[in-house]
Every structure is written in C-alpha cells, then in structure tokens.
C-alpha cells in the first residue's frame, strides 16, 4: 500500500507532530506511515481523510497483487 501522506501534509504546511496531534496518534505513528513501515488502521485512515477533507482513496493507494 502506497500513500501520499507526506504530500498532503506538505500542502497543509504542518509538521508530523502537529498532524499526529490533530488525528489523535503519536508522532512516530505518522512518521511510520509516511515512511511505509506499516499501514494505518481503518479508523486512523478515516481520521486522516477527515483532516485533509478528502477520501481515503485520495491518500492511500491499494494495489492488490493477485
């Protein structure tokens, strides 16, 4: 799963820590997602889409491999 979180955050001109605070997770969680270490939970994906006023699919790109 790929994501454009870094781009969305840059457009909003906020830091990882600020975004983390806005969506209710730790800074490390935002960092880990931006760096592709793991995918967010569905709940966090909803929170991020809500914060950026977009759809989950606008931030996250899922490409099945079957």
């Amino acid at each position: 799963m790929e994501n454009d979180l870094t781009v969305w955050r840059a457009k909003a001109d906020i830091t990882q820590a600020e975004l983390a605070d806005q969506v209710g997770v730790s800074r490390q969680t935002i960092n880990a997602i931006e760096r592709g270490r793991y995918d967010p939970s569905l709940e966090l994906a909803f929170e991020l889409a809500r914060y950026f006023d977009c759809r989950i699919e606008d931030i996250f790109d899922y490409e099945p491999d079957d």
Copy 2:
C-alpha cells in the same frame, strides 16, 4: 465504527464463507466484522470495497466522538 457489510453481502447473495474467500480472509473474520467485534484493517477494507465495487465509505461509517 458501523458497517453495512451484511447488507452488501445480502445484495450480492453470497455467504460469509464465499466473501471471505473472495477477499482473502477467514470466514470468522467476516463474521466478526459484520457483528461489530472489530474493524477490518485498511487493506481488508480496500478489498471489500473492491469486491463490491464501491467506496470504503459506502460500507463503513466512521463517526468521530470528539
């Protein structure tokens, strides 16, 4: 988080076992999600939306409580 998975599955006229097979998880996982025992991962949410040809937001309804 609420979901309409049971309704979508009924419309598609398939069993929990068949849906589980289609999206690559166990039948118990589909059952647990329908019964609201836990939310799916983002990846599984994408798979379900893909199977039903709809958006994640069409199946899952997230209502923040802050």
